[in-house]
């Protein structure tokens, strides 16, 4: 069989080959994305849908509700109770995806998607070219281990290995069995949605689903560093967050 292909033949098929590649190429999520919460008058297509309910198993729900009630009572007194962020401990997965009005940066290549949050300079690395490990083989940490694949125009990210001491979604408890699935896709060239599903068969009655929406930041935006080296907040003997004042 003659495998020689003439230059003319290649040129003739080149447009078709290029079209086929672009048709199957995943969208490019690269860029800096600011939190978009929508608001009055915003297009419902772009707003994040309302979060689903957080339903904990009764043995976890009782202490969770008690903690929330204590936090609420403290806030009424003008106090904030101890929490990890006041001690400058990063949020980890999945909370780091949406902190106040801090943007995230996404850097994408065919083998890896990297997500950097401006708040606390947190980093998620999503490997696209390898399988996920068993949960028990992942060293527990703040970001666990993330692998991803494309389902059409959606980047599906699977994360396991978040240690239970990491701040949970809305302060929820979670076990080593927690699994976080991000489904990230462009709604338009300017709007990105990340639908996050938290599944924890130990703690949750059913998976929690919520969506974070982002809007593309101006092209000249440069991410700002966030190293927590001057934390004047401290937690007193009663577990209340206080501010250290200087006298000069």
């Amino acid at each position: 069989m003659n495998l020689k292909i003439s230059t003319a033949t290649l040129l003739a098929f080149a447009p078709a080959i290029l079209n086929a590649q672009s048709a199957s190429a995943p969208p490019d999520l690269t860029g800096v994305w600011g939190i978009y919460r929508g608001g009055p008058g915003s297009d419902p297509k772009f707003r994040p849908p309302a979060p689903g309910p957080l339903v904990l198993k009764p043995e976890y729900d009782k202490p969770y509700q008690e903690r929330r009630a204590k936090e609420s009572a403290a806030a009424q007194r003008g106090e904030q109770l101890d929490n990890t962020s006041a001690r400058c401990i990063p949020y980890g997965v999945p909370t780091m995806m949406a902190i106040a009005i801090y943007p995230i940066e996404i850097i994408q290549n065919p083998k890896q998607v990297t997500i950097i949050s401006e708040a606390f300079s947190e980093v998620r690395r999503v490997y696209l070219d390898r399988p996920q490990w068993k949960i028990e083989d992942v060293a527990p940490g703040y970001y666990g281990r993330s692998v991803g694949h494309w389902e059409g125009d959606t980047l599906v990210v699977d994360t396991v290995g978040i240690k239970p001491t990491v701040s949970g979604y809305r302060g929820m408890p979670h076990s080593p069995q927690m699994r976080v699935t991000d489904r990230i896709r462009l709604i338009s060239s300017e709007i990105l949605h990340d639908q996050i599903t938290i599944d924890d068969p130990v703690v949750l009655e059913k998976p929690v689903v919520y969506t974070v929406a982002f809007k593309k930041m101006p092209a000249d935006y440069e991410m700002v560093e966030f190293v927590c080296d001057n934390n004047r907040e401290y937690v007193d003997e009663n577990g209340v967050v206080r501010l250290k004042l200087h006298d000069k």
């Binding site: 929508g38 608001g39 106090e79 904030q80 400058c88 967050v241 206080r242 501010l243």
Partner: protein, 143 residues
Amino acid sequence: MKSLHAFRTKLCSVAMLAAAVFAIATPVWAHHSFTMFDMTKRLTLTGSITSFEWTNPHAYIEIDVPDEKGAVKHWSIEMGSPSILMQSGWKFNSIHAGDKLTIIINPMKSGQNGGFLSQATLPDGKVLFNGPRQEPPPAPTQK
């Protein structure tokens, strides 16, 4: 940068609104809540800066404030993070030790000499806020 400022201003407005109705699923502050400050009170201080700390999780202004009898009291003023402050025009070198400054703060509920910055009038007269400000509502459409 104007477009960036407007964008972040809108974001902040939306975040504040969302916090007010307590209906969102994600933190509206990065570090801590502001319950220790009395956000209903505003106090004006004029004094001399002893240091300006452009740091995370918050920037700080340390300032000596003389009272009407000339006695000097020292105040520690918390600001947003550099990232948030940059969205309202602050830079790491906007003010320096020794500068005279007039600030409006939300004082601490404890009565200590501390507070959360609301706005600052710089030596050159420029007014800077503690992060993006809420835009005024759009004018009603005429029928």
